[in-house]
């Protein structure tokens, strides 16, 4: 049908000649499209990373709010049972003391990041590493003492053997660690008197949970800001390339 022949866009007579040109054109277009496609994929990945960290931050804020509400309620109950004068900021003395719960701050291992990305680790009531190192020192000192005296050698070796058995079982350091933790907790409660309401203990537990959320929030915040900075750089880079293309 002549009408159908006229409709066909590519005439068959020129097909062989144009094939090579078309292939070259498609190859050129393909090569031009590839870096653009890669940059779009990279930008999408960064957008997703940013949105994930943003969502994590908001979820953690919600979780923190719940923990804080629980803590305030328990504190109010403790104040009701113990009396408002016994749970008051007037009891906070200014005697020199170190914080029992601290943070470990490390730099991000990702050197490709242009923005600093700190990482926070919570150390509740002293770190476990400190406990292990102090016990190693004790073990070393006991070994030295046993070497010095032959008369006491048998007794000391028995003690060392017991110590090694307890360390190998893993119960010894854990028990002493938990005892130290309980000791530190009791010190914090002792500010409000020797006999405290059970609600005050549960309030302490709630605020410890809130503290864990806060450290997670701090890490989520730094991840979010880092992702945001990378995304800004990506967007700026793509805007510069589009301007160059239009020029």
């Amino acid at each position: 049908m002549p009408e159908m022949d006229q409709i066909v866009p590519v005439p068959r007579e020129d097909e062989d000649e144009d094939d090579g040109a078309e292939e070259e054109a498609t190859e050129k277009v393909g090569t031009e499209c590839k870096p653009g496609a890669d940059s779009e994929e990279g930008e999408d990945e960064k957008v997703l990373k940013f949105l994930d960290s943003f969502d994590a931050y908001l979820v953690l804020i919600d979780s923190l709010s719940s923990a804080l509400r629980q803590g305030w309620l328990e504190l109010a109950c403790a104040r009701h049972s113990m009396g408002s004068s016994r749970i008051s900021s007037a009891l906070f003395d200014h005697k020199v003391r170190s914080a029992a719960t601290t943070l470990k701050v490390t730099d991000s291992l990702d050197s490709s990041l242009s923005e600093p990305n700190p990482h926070f680790t919570l150390s509740k009531w002293g770190t476990q590493e400190d406990r292990c190192s102090s016990e190693e020192i004790e073990l070393d000192s006991m070994q030295k003492k046993s070497n010095q005296s032959q008369l006491r050698h048998r007794a000391a070796s028995n003690i060392l053997g017991e110590r090694e058995e307890s360390n190998s079982s893993g119960n010894g350091p854990q028990l002493s660690f938990s005892k130290d933790v309980q000791k530190e907790r009791a010190k914090s409660l002792a500010v409000f008197g020797t006999l405290v309401s059970p609600k005050l203990r549960t309030a302490q537990s709630s605020f410890e949970t809130a503290l864990e959320r806060i450290v997670e929030m701090a890490n989520a915040r730094s991840a979010m800001l880092s992702a945001f900075t990378q995304l800004q750089l990506e967007v700026k880079g793509s805007e510069d390339t589009t301007r160059e293309d239009t020029v």
């Binding site: 943070l103 701050v105 509740k124 005050l200």
Partner: protein, 130 residues
């Protein structure tokens, strides 16, 4: 990459607080209270009698101390010194706005979230409708 400022790392950094009495009491129960040899604490209790100047000085002190890694500040207190909080841009100590008993958390007022929110307002489809 070149020009990246190093982060001050520490094994026993402190958490500072600028908040109401109940919040500070609770976190002191959790063991973060510290009093150094100069009798300086790592917390400030904000009440009706606390002046704006005292809050500003506490914020400036906590954000310049090298032994503090996180500064917790109630959002309603942060709103009083919003110009200071928004101007702060160091990674450490990290400033975290937290809710208080009488003032729930509002994400639209958070300094960090408002900083990243403009990305959405510039790129979102909704902005084209205005």
């Amino acid at each position: 990459m070149a020009g990246r400022a190093p982060i001050p790392t520490s094994n026993s950094a402190l958490i500072a607080m600028i908040a109401d009495e109940d919040t500070v009491t609770g976190f002191l129960l959790a063991g973060i209270g510290n009093v150094d040899l100069r009798r300086k604490t790592n917390y400030l209790i904000v009440n009706n009698k606390t002046t704006l100047k005292a809050i500003e000085e506490a914020f400036k002190e906590f954000t310049t101390r090298e032994d503090i890694a996180i500064v917790l500040i109630s959002q309603y207190v942060a709103n009083m010194i919003r110009f200071l909080v928004d101007r702060y841009n160091k990674p450490v100590p990290a400033i975290l706005e937290i809710p208080s008993k009488d003032h729930p958390y509002d994400p639209t007022q958070d300094s960090v979230l408002s900083r990243v929110r403009y990305l959405f307002s510039a790129e979102s489809v909704a902005s084209g409708r205005y």
